[in-house]
Symmetry: C2
Subunit: 632 residues, 2 copies
């Protein structure tokens, strides 16, 4: 019998601390290693590559062709047609003048065309963030009493959003967005969409009064309270518009080629509604209209940004919360569309683009913009090729602002409410929620806590609740790593979980445990208890079946990617306790990082180099070998 301890485990401790720190920082902040493609280039070329990395227009412009341009023009016009009703509607949600919604589709898309790296994204205001901004800023400034200050505070919030996004992007802290679980976002969006739909009943029923609050109970109470204000003219129009919009949506689902019908249907509804309101003098006959829209491009607002307390603090608060939400939504949309074309997008680079867009936007009367799913999907289906479609979109909006804006004053509120309602129906991902329920009950709970929290407490509470739960879950995972007992699969030298493979055989006198990863301060205590329990259970089983005494414990460390100081302390204690019982400890397949830590803590010498094995099979052979040697 050959001594398997000759097949040595690599126990060399080669990497210095700084080298390890460097690689660790790199994996944390540059997981995608964005500069890898031009690491070998010459200095001048590399400088150019780096600049064009941050300003993607320099990259794609050099290969831009007329064919591409024709596609982008088509896509740009299509999204502009969607941008008009969306802009007016979402500005209404944020309780700011509707024209600002149109401004948001002029400057930000231009900026995005320069800095954006996603070929599918179409930028503009979004519903959920609009409502959230309104809810946050209303805590300090009333949109009815101080409409100007309120509007400027909303715009200031966009400035801080941009600053946050730019900072996160530059310092490559996109990792923060990673911690907003997809389930949290699904639930948050679903809850917000339901809330927005409920609020639209004001417009759909033609009510004059309503509540500013955003929780289910208050909104339903308000609907009940003001139900007598309901106007039949609005209701009729509402039913008609909803039917048109839902039918065009059905049409798209059935015939994807006819997506453009769906894309222009909101504009169609707006124009139709405007015509009707104009013809019947709707404003005085139960069909409230948007009201005056000024002609002209975005006024400069840089000098109106609110940097004085208490407005600055509420703007910062609103800016940060909505910034994270907008980022999460934007990056997710960008990523899922890129995937369809098999492209990659760089989250951190996108953050820089969003940051620039919101900062510059806030100087020119724009509030928070990001990449909404509805607009971007239309852009994608319309065949956009590059961010140029955003530039075309911006030019179309410029023409609208310069010449057509006043015409939209006749837009009936009921048309906007119908458009928002149908858009929000699309945002509630019932299918995804059902999938979560089936696959992962905890993810389902995360999702529902966000959804119900948004509906019944407040938007921030729902988001915070779900976020906290997801963090606790991540921490609990670290606190309770898996351990399992391994047995030999008959006819192989493989050792597998005996629970998973009931036909695997225990080795008499040897207990083999697989330890989960990582071994950390947060779980060292738990692992000690758990190992003790495994040993006790094994000893009891031996007593009952009068089997062979327990001589060895083998820890399979294959899955342990790292161990910290408390973990090493725990291992030392466990070793001491086991030795007192006359049980020897063997370790199998420690990874590089674990070897480094064990060796600097001198635990390798304490355990003995000869008790480190390359595989569980080797370790078992080794234990048998020593037993035989001792028997001789």
């Amino acid at each position: 019998m050959e001594d398997p301890r000759l097949r040595a485990v690599s126990l060399a401790n080669t990497k210095s601390f700084t080298a390890r720190l460097k690689s660790h920082l790199k994996e944390t902040f540059f997981p995608d290693d964005p500069f890898r493609h031009f690491a070998d280039q010459r200095p001048v070329r590399r400088a150019w590559s780096t600049i064009s990395y941050f300003v993607p227009i320099l990259q794609w412009m050099s290969n831009y062709s007329l064919t591409f341009f024709s596609y982008d023009v088509l896509a740009g016009i299509t999204i502009a047609s969607l941008a008009i009703p969306q802009g007016i509607s979402y500005a209404k949600l944020a309780e700011i003048p509707p024209i600002i919604g149109l401004y948001c589709s002029f400057v930000p898309p231009l900026v995005y065309a320069v800095f954006g790296s996603s070929n599918n994204m179409a930028v503009g205001p979004v519903a959920a963030a609009s409502l959230l901004i309104a809810a946050t800023i209303q805590e300090s400034v009333s949109p009815e009493k101080e409409p100007e200050r309120y509007t400027y505070t909303v715009i200031t919030a966009a400035f801080f959003t941009g600053l946050l996004q730019l900072t996160l992007g530059v310092f490559r802290l996109g990792i923060i967005v990673d911690f907003l679980a997809r389930s949290t976002i699904t639930g948050f969006m679903g809850g917000t969409a339901l809330m927005i739909i409920l609020q639209q009943f004001k417009g759909l029923l033609g009510l004059q009064h309503f509540t500013n609050k955003t929780d289910f109970v208050t909104v339903v109470q308000a609907l009940f309270k003001y139900r007598s204000e309901c106007r039949w003219q609005s209701v009729i129009l509402a039913v008609a518009f909803l039917t048109i919009l839902l039918l065009s949506k059905k049409l798209k689902d059935k015939f994807p080629k006819l997506f453009w019908v769906n894309a222009i249907s909101p504009l169609f509804v707006v124009i139709l509604g405007g015509l009707i309101a104009f013809l019947v003098d709707g404003a005085n006959h139960g069909i409230p209209i948007v009201g005056d829209l000024k002609k002209g491009l975005n006024p400069i607002t840089i000098s109106h940004l609110q940097f004085k307390t208490p407005y600055v603090s509420v703007a910062i608060k609103a800016g940060l919360i909505t910034g994270i939400i907008a980022l999460a939504e934007g990056v997710a949309v960008g990523r899922s569309l890129a995937l369809l074309k098999n492209e990659q997008i760089d989250g951190n680079k996108e953050m820089i683009a969003y940051g620039m867009m919101n900062i510059v936007g806030s100087f020119f009367s724009c509030y928070l913009t990001t990449g909404p799913f509805s607009k971007s999907a239309v852009n994608y289906h319309a065949g956009c090729k590059t961010p140029m479609s955003n530039a075309v979109h911006a030019l179309c909006m410029m023409l609208v602002l310069l010449f057509l804006a006043p015409l939209f004053k006749y837009t009936p509120l009921v048309a906007l409410s119908a458009i928002i309602t149908v858009a929000m129906i699309g945002i509630i991902e019932l299918h995804e929620i059902h999938h979560l329920f089936k696959v992962d009950k905890f993810d389902f709970c995360l999702c529902m806590s966000a959804l119900l929290g948004v509906l019944f407490i407040s938007m921030k509470a729902g988001l915070a609740l779900s976020f906290l739960l997801s963090i606790i879950r991540a921490l609990l995972y670290v606190a309770r790593p898996m351990t399992c007992k391994l047995g030999n699969l008959p006819g192989t030298d493989l050792y597998r979980d005996i629970q998973q493979y009931p036909n695997s055989k225990s080795i008499p006198g040897i207990l083999i445990l697989q330890l989960g990863s990582p071994i950390y301060f947060a779980n060292a205590g738990y692992l000690r208890e758990r190992i003790t329990r495994w040993v006790e259970a094994e000893e009891n089983a031996i007593k009952e079946h009068s089997g062979k005494d327990l001589h060895y414990i083998i820890f399979d460390l294959s899955g342990v990617t790292t161990i910290d100081n408390s973990g090493i302390g725990m291992m030392t204690e466990v070793k001491r306790t086991l030795n007192k019982k006359g049980i020897k400890l063997a370790l199998s397949n420690p990874s590089l990082k674990v070897v480094e830590k064990l060796s600097s803590a001198k635990l390798i010498d304490a355990v003995g180099k000869e008790w480190f094995f390359l595989s569980v099979g080797d370790a078992v052979e080794g234990c048998h070998f020593v037993l035989q040697e001792e028997a001789k």
Copy 2:
């Protein structure tokens, strides 16, 4: 060549959701499975076992013998001699009347004797928590202006501490204490000890005025400001007392059997100092003394607890923070002493005992108590056998309170300061800090951030900073799991990290990646990027060396203990991207939980059952087998 796919991976999805939830909750909250020993007993016996589980005195009393008692009496008397100077000193730190420090060594030890399960613990007030309580409660109530209310608020804080500890224990939330990393506690204790030592210069130098603040700069400024008040009488005594105390400590270190010299040296210093102060009328000659101590047992304070705002809120705040700290210290001390005797202690049970002790204590003029290291170590060395030593300790203190307390009024403050200083020197674990620096730089940072935070900002800030860092670290670990490329070790069928084993060989046309655990929402994005980068690097290497095209990717899932919904989404995307490139995906050794999730998400069918393998070796064989079949 045999098709290795015949050796099937266990892909059965057997456990129901409730069964999984149950086992998950059990591992989270009952990792030690405390009732496992009497699960098979008959009902009456089981009820008795359960009661005596919560009231351990019922367990150990039945086997109690006279020999045990003689040991416990000796230990009890020894710790009582330590409790007098410690009680007075720590009460001074908390800025409450010194007599309360003595009360704390009467009622709480009695309660602990009934509910406590650690045979080595001796309970009483502790320095760090005393200072922390004072710092927190002074924010709202001034000890100079409203001494009575201040004292009652401190006692009320102990009530809330007890409530917290009891709740945590009953609901088995000991897991919260797990998240206070050992490094954080080391740093916090070290910083607090340094701070307390600095503050002792007031007593050592005989100053009349000083600051209440607990940050380095203010304390040093105060020392400088009041330096002219320094009295030579106090300084002489300080030097003498420090010498005695330090010598007795050295003696114990050299001759562990003489531990009792060290244990009674504080009492000796107190008596000697008292005699001197009495003889020379110290109070009027530069040796400030403690002052009046009333004779008599603890007055009942239950009706004085402060349940009115704003006092109740500051009491709750102080109670919660110090409660967690006291728990962490107590449980750690209990555990490390138990380890020396190879016993186990149950953290959750200990929490219940601490909770009872603090709640009952707060009804009888006691402030926060826990298991201080100094006292418990003396108890251990004095040969205590059961919690009975605490009862003896309490009886001794009863006699002191009834008959001797007034004698201690002559105790010079300088003696107390000397005792505290020497005790605090013992708490600064320089050796541990050096060990941290060598083994784990991040643990060292955690430790130093707590230490410097306590010194230069505030105790709470230091603790919070270090705690937050440790949470971020735990989260970052989850966010950036390890991945590595595996190669074949020549002459074996083992596959190991090619970075760790540079002699391992890549298999042409196959890329083998080991994925770290868990695959989660927080890292799904990262893993996707990282896998893409591995594939790209492999393709580039193939291009350069004009090697064989990449046909297969094998993910070794041995170390992946769980996967959530986002992780499954990531795997699906990666599979799709790879398939578009013409690369097949194979999975090796998925664990039970992963199989469950993959199967409920229908990913097993998407990948194909035949692409799941038991080991990497099997997977490689499987890929070769298919390649050959295709070639035929």
